[in-house]
């Protein structure tokens, strides 16, 4: 859900950025973090380790929002900027290294 109108802030229209979440093509905006783009698409469950987890601090302090991005695990999606074509997946458990797409 994006804010359409705000009494104090102006959100300028920004370039759309396509990315993939769990194999599905979604759109974010230039300037988004991965987490804000997912929230704009109403996706709040980002990780699953015995229990579902989501965003908590949004500034890179905690480790609640770790996801697998382009094969790389443990990416803090709250501070990682969205780039075109990113492949974002719900991280299950601790994640495994060595699957990065070079």
């Amino acid at each position: 859900m994006r804010i359409q109108q705000h009494p104090i802030l102006n959100f300028e229209p920004a370039e759309e950025i396509p990315f993939y979440f769990e194999g599905k093509k979604l759109t974010g905006k230039l300037g988004d973090t991965i987490a804000s783009a997912l929230h704009a698409n109403n996706i709040r469950m980002l990780r699953h380790e015995h229990r579902p987890r989501g965003l908590f601090c949004a500034i890179g302090n905690c480790a609640s929002c770790l996801m697998e991005v382009d094969g790389r695990p443990n990416v803090r999606v709250c501070v990682e900027k969205l780039r075109p074509g990113m492949v974002v997946k719900i991280q299950k458990g601790n994640g495994t290294l060595g699957k990065e797409e070079k």
Partner: protein
């Protein structure tokens, strides 16, 4: 290896003020900020600031962020390094940091640590569910990215942050079902409370959250009344139809680097928990390390800016740089900070600082 008279860690209100104060007296500063842009938490404060008109009172936090950022970025004595996370402080005066994917070092004579704070958690069933956010996260989502955290929110905590973020949620068109707080009075400024009350948001005191409900994300919440000993009163549970729980239950100073550097720490609840022991010049137990902002004691952004200026000036003074009026300037800043804290709402901080000086 880089060389710098002064390294400032953190580009929020305290760190930027420290860098500007020192650079104003000819000191070469390296400013490390882990995010891609300066401003810290100011960049999402859409409300007008309190404090003194001479210290940006009446100006919205977002605008103060712009003003400070412009000053820092145009100052030739400040090497402003964004996307740079400080990693360590070594005995020989080397600060290490990660910049992008590179590991770098800077040799410093003096250091100001202005790393801010992190949000506290609260124990209740379902507190790890997606849809339970720190209040700062809600501000970041809404005010920085223009994205809503949910449609209907339960706010936990009636301090300034809880009240301000409630108001900001209303401004973004989000409904706030209630603000709950375990205390028997409103902790934040009462003018903020009046603002959200006249928008129809109830403030339920002596009440806490018992559970966030839902399987994959928040679909409701249970609140419960507390007795005067903060024990839940059986039979007073109430279910609220909300999709988001926002926690504003306090902040903890981010002091890992200060501990690492061997600065003396002390647990003072009134100041936010473990804080670095420091004097009125913002100097820690290590004479070359200064602190400012929430990392020194959790307070307002207006005091963080003053502490930053004092820390920057103190660092400059300790480098024996001859500069006209610098001692008087610091004294004036110290007086202004004391004036800010002189009232009823400053009592908690004053008491905490008195404990520290003991």
């Amino acid at each position: 290896m880089l060389f710098s008279d002064l390294v400032v860690i953190g580009g929020g209100p305290a760190g930027m003020s420290a860098a500007l104060a020192a650079a104003g007296h000819g000191i070469k500063v390296t400013l490390l900020e882990r995010m891609e842009s300066l401003g810290g938490q100011l960049v999402k404060q859409t409300h007008r600031f309190f404090g003194s008109e001479s210290e940006y009172a009446g100006t919205r936090g977002i605008r103060i962020a712009d003003i400070l950022r412009e000053k820092v970025e145009s100052n030739r004595l400040i090497d402003c390094r964004r996307g740079s996370t400080a990693l360590g402080i070594y005995e020989d005066g080397v600060v290490t940091f990660e910049e992008g994917t590179q590991y770098k070092k800077v040799n410093m004579d003096r250091l100001v640590v202005a790393t801010g704070a992190s949000e506290k958690m609260l124990v209740f069933e379902g507190n790890d569910l997606p849809g339970v956010y720190g209040a700062g996260a809600v501000q970041t989502l809404m005010n920085l990215y223009g994205v809503l955290p949910g449609r209907k929110v339960l706010m936990v905590g009636a301090g300034n942050i809880g009240l301000i973020v409630t108001y900001q949620l209303l401004q973004a068109g989000v409904r706030v079902a209630a603000i709950v707080d375990a205390a028997d009075h409103i902790g934040g400024y009462l003018v903020h409370a009046s603002k959200v009350r006249r928008c129809g948001v109830p403030v339920l005191l002596g009440t806490t959250i018992r559970a966030a409900l839902g399987t994959t994300e928040v679909e409701g919440a249970v609140i419960q009344k507390l007795d005067s000993h903060f024990h839940p009163i059986p039979g007073t549970e109430q279910r609220l139809d909300v999709d988001t729980v926002c926690l504003s239950v306090g902040l903890s100073p981010l002091t890992e680097l200060l501990r690492l550097a061997g600065c003396k720490m002390r647990y003072i609840p009134a100041l936010g928990g473990f804080v670095p022991v420091h004097n009125s010049y913002m100097q820690t137990s290590r004479s070359d390390i200064f602190v400012a902002g929430d990392a020194s004691c959790v307070e307002e952004a207006s005091s963080a800016m003053m502490e930053g200026a004092i820390a920057g000036l103190s660092a400059a003074i300790s480098l024996h740089v001859p500069s006209a009026g610098i001692l008087e300037q610091r004294e004036r800043r110290i007086r202004e900070l004391a004036a800010l804290r002189a009232g009823d709402v400053g009592a908690k901080i004053r008491n905490g600082l008195a404990v520290m000086a003991d």
